[in-house]
């Protein structure tokens, strides 16, 4: 492991020399092909980790977990495109934890540079670096990386299996391979003879695999089309199996109660709980207890009846004290200066008009609709786990460590996830279940968190502060000096996931700020790590979720100070710097009929962010109604290069926007006595049917490289909305959530 850590350390240090050195160092290891985790079925073949065919049919394996983002459908479509099968005729399964399913795209995000200005060289470097994901066991679904990761690999998997099937047919029929074609799961000879893949599979499995050529885009049948989602019928009939729905024989139900101050447990007294009908046991889990019963609700009631003495919080007790520590972050040495163009240090240039503002955003919970849960069965020499998760190898590895078994003796199933949003990358809930299962061997037990436990024991989106200094002159920005202070999610995640002390400049921390694609003569961005230990993690779009609010609210303030239309002001600074981003702005301008003028009672704002490889522009319209301000419509334009499935991309863009909209208006995690003060949805509400805006999404395909879809829709909405509210009311909100400043329709 030491070598891997060394690679990781070099990799995560931002600097081109260190990156190249790191990649070269690891090359011998990562170039070895990963073992195929699929065993060839009787009378069939597992051609590669993604395609398995036997007499019963064709099975495709999705390497990324399905948490609603549609990746299972699109990954399968990529294979089917080359394999020539119809999605309705195949089964799509979730890949088990295996190196073959590592995420090669995720680490590409740690490259130096702003991302949007990457040339072909940097992208090639990104792919080299990406293979380190295998070394780091990063079978992770996150970072909006599933399609970047799978685009070529899945098509190759389909094509190589297709060629092997043609080889087998050629041998059997005595017909030249070049004369054979494939269609709908069959190899077809010139005389019309059709051989089903299912009957050729066993022979095809004996053929040598060659690296085939991929079809050009002009021949694509599925890619770029709206494919019917493979999970839809099951989700419309209540038959889709999620983590909480598994029912192994003899299952017991358990409820968790963990320290709301996130430290240890001094003692607990279970006497009262144990007298409750249906309760079968109460177990200490270190910093939590679990009650086991014949019913989850009974277990939850009994968990409340356990008398527990908790340890104190390892962070300040109150929200204000926590933010005072974040403010102190600005007094420390900057963790990073990821952008330093011109001379921002000397302040506003002579003759310019200075603009200054400070911004604040709260901690946020993920609040996925399916509360956290994991089922585990420990039998002494084996552990079986069912856990909806975003990182199968990490979850399996930490569960194995917990019970003292080798990873190969741990089986992890990943059913559908009832939402992830980054929360299910962390594995605390899987580890708790493994710990409990070891205490009650040979009995499968499902450990379910109440909504309250879920909301109060999250790895939160960190609260953050920004200090923005700018200056305008002759209608342009001549200075932008941005500083952000927050806890680092990178540092906490690397420590929790890989026991690795991340050092060096933290690029993720300033994402969507340092790489905001605006050309400004004097432009500096500095990131500060706040010294606070509130548990934090990856929340949909990570730091871009707050940095975009800082960046694009401030762009609006500068535009107004310069006396220029806010949308035109952005374009002026982006057209040359990042034409594809500017095209998104022009698109939402045209879609919304943006004139810069709004009638009384109507406000409009624009927001833009570049994150996870995709530029997204949004225009939002708000109207003053008797019942409060209503967000009436949002226009979105995005460019992720190639939209592999437009309907899924639109759902992600719209859904990402709504997730950010809910947070911008309503959501805030606060602390008192070291405990989170929000318990359930009434304290942490979201956009609902009657408060949902109309949404219109346009997809541009101007970028040369694939960008993400799941996260980039989230960051621009908070600034777009704050800017629209300024247009409506003349009040500039520099703090989220916005319902602290404005009365919204409720």
């Amino acid at each position: 492991m030491a070598n891997f850590k060394k690679i990781a350390r070099r990799t995560f240090l931002i600097g081109s020399a260190a990156i190249v050195g790191g990649a070269a160092f690891g090359a011998w290891y990562v170039s070895r092909p990963a073992e195929n985790p699929l065993k060839s079925p009787e009378g069939g073949a597992a051609f590669n980790p993604f395609v398995m065919i036997d007499q019963n049919g064709v099975t495709l394996i999705a390497k990324h977990v399905e948490m609603g983002q549609g990746s299972r459908t699109t990954l399968a479509a990529l294979i089917a495109e080359e394999l020539d099968v119809r999605l309705e005729d195949v089964k799509v399964l979730q890949g088990q934890p295996a190196q073959a399913y590592y995420n090669s795209a995720l680490l590409g995000e740690v490259l130096p540079g702003k991302g949007y200005d990457r040339g072909d060289f940097a992208h090639a470097l990104g792919e080299t670096l990406g293979v380190l994901g295998k070394v780091l066991n990063m079978q992770v679904t996150g970072g909006s990386s599933a399609m970047k990761d799978g685009f070529t690999e899945m098509r190759l998997a389909g094509a190589s299996a297709r060629e092997a099937l043609k080889d087998a047919a050629s041998a059997r029929l005595g017909v030249a391979k070049a004369d054979l074609k494939t269609e709908n799961g069959q190899v077809i000879a010139p005389d019309g003879t059709a051989l089903a893949y299912t009957e050729l599979a066993a022979e095809a499995g004996q053929m040598d695999l060659s690296e085939p050529e991929l079809r050009p885009a002009s021949e694509w049948k599925y890619i770029g089309k709206n494919m019917p989602r493979v999970d839809m019928a099951a989700k419309a009939t209540g038959t889709a199996e999620y983590g909480m729905d598994v029912r192994p024989e003899g299952l017991k139900f358990a409820a968790l109660r963990a320290n709301p101050r996130r430290s240890g447990m001094t003692s607990f007294d279970a006497a009262a709980a144990l007298t409750m009908p249906g309760v079968e046991g109460v177990y200490g889990l270190g910093d939590a207890i679990a009650v086991v019963a014949n019913n989850t609700w009974i277990a939850m009631q009994a968990a409340e009846a356990v008398d527990i003495t908790w340890g104190a919080a390892n962070y300040p007790n109150k929200t204000d004290q926590i933010f005072a520590r974040i403010e102190q972050g600005f007094d420390t040495e900057a963790n990073s200066t990821m952008r330093d163009d011109g001379d921002a240090g000397t302040g506003a240039p002579e003759g310019s008009t200075p603009v200054e503002a400070s911004y604040k955003v709260p901690y946020l919970a993920h609040a996925a609709m399916e509360p956290l849960n994991t089922t585990a069965l420990y039998t002494g020499d084996h552990l079986e786990i069912w856990s909806g998760n975003q990182g199968p190898m990490l979850h399996r590895q930490h569960a194995a460590t917990e019970v003292g078994l080798a990873e190969e003796n741990v089986t992890l199933h990943t059913p559908y996830l009832g939402g992830g949003f980054g929360r299910r990358g962390d594995f605390d809930y899987t580890v708790y279940a493994a710990r409990l299962a070891k205490l009650m061997p040979d009995t499968p037990v499902m450990l379910t968190w109440s909504r309250e436990e879920d909301m109060r024991h999250d790895f939160y989106r960190p609260g953050a502060l920004a200090r923005m200094k700018g200056a305008v002159q002759d209608g342009r920005a001549v200075l932008l000096d941005g500083q952000v202070s927050a806890q680092s999610t990178t540092v906490q995640i690397m420590k929790r996931w890989m026991d690795f002390e991340a050092g060096g400049p933290d690029k993720g921390h300033v994402d969507a700020l340092f790489n905001a694609p605006y050309a400004i003569e004097n432009h500096r961005v500095r990131g500060y790590h706040a010294d606070v230990d509130v548990p934090v993690g990856a929340w949909r779009s990570v730091a871009a979720s707050f940095n975009a609010f800082f960046q694009d609210s401030f762009m609006d303030e500068m535009a107004h100070a310069a006396g220029v239309d806010p949308l035109e002001f952005r374009l002026q600074h982006m057209r040359e710097e990042f034409p594809e981003g500017a095209a998104c702005l022009e698109k939402v301008r045209d879609m919304s009929g943006w004139t810069g003028e709004t009638p009384e009672g109507v406000g409009r704002g624009v927001g833009f962010a570049y994150s996870f490889g995709t530029p997204v522009a949004q225009v939002v319209e708000v109207v003053q109604q008797d019942s409060g301000i209503h967000v009436k419509k949002v226009w979105i334009a995005c460019d992720m290069g190639t939209a592999l499935d437009p309907s899924i991309v639109k759902a992600q863009m719209s859904g990402g926007m709504v997730y950010g909209l809910s947070a911008a208006i309503y959501e805030e995690i606060t602390f008192s006595g070291g405990e989170v003060e929000q318990f359930n949805f009434p304290d942490f509400d979201a956009t609902r049917m009657h408060t949902m805006p109309e949404v219109e999404v346009a997809i541009l395909e101007g970028q040369k490289h694939l960008g993400g879809a799941g996260e980039p829709g989230t960051p621009p909405i908070a600034p777009a909305l704050a800017n629209a509210l300024y247009d409506l009311t003349g009040t500039r909100a520099r703090e989220l959530p916005l319902n602290k400043t404005f009365d919204f329709k409720y």
Binding site: G238, Y242, T296, M369, M692
Partner: protein, 153 residues
């Protein structure tokens, strides 16, 4: 003492205490997992079922208080024989993560029973208790209108 109830036309029996909510009787006792747990406090609608044809939050109805026949998502239709509303959900590709959709569909089914041609305002009023963190609301709205037009002929 055993309690009897009728779920999707079948009579079922359980020895669970009478204060256990219907949600947890369905899920953990009868293994009918189509009805989902989201909040436990009637704030999200994921657990919506019908009792005598009317939508109810099953996390708030105690076993001892069930006053009529229960219908769950499993009773509405199956993958091979979907209700019109469920087919509309598929046609409009509504679900993302899908956890809330059983409740959304049961709530919408109840709305259509009472109001076969709901307006957008009717949909707002009927559906606002059903939370979706993926933000599928526009497609839910379209699917309800579509199903209404098909049911109405």
């Amino acid at each position: 003492m055993a309690t009897r109830l009728t779920v999707n036309g079948k009579t079922l029996e359980t020895d669970l205490p009478e204060d256990v909510p219907l949600l947890w009787v369905l899920r953990d006792e009868f293994n009918m997992t189509g009805t989902k747990f989201g909040c436990g406090v009637s704030a999200c609608g994921a657990c919506t079922v019908h009792i005598d044809g009317e939508s109810q939050r099953s996390c708030q109805v105690r076993l001892g208080d069930i006053w009529g026949e229960v219908t769950t998502i499993e009773g509405l239709g199956t993958p091979d024989n979907m209700a019109v509303l469920q087919q509309a959900w598929v046609d409009h590709q509504v679900a993302q993560c899908g956890w809330c959709q059983s409740g959304q569909i049961m709530q919408a089914a109840s709305l259509l029973q009472q109001n076969p041609k709901p307006t957008d305002q009717d949909i707002d009023d009927a559906m606002q208790g059903n939370l979706c963190r993926c933000g599928t609301y526009p497609r839910i709205r379209a699917a309800i209108h579509d199903a209404a037009s098909k049911i109405g002929g």
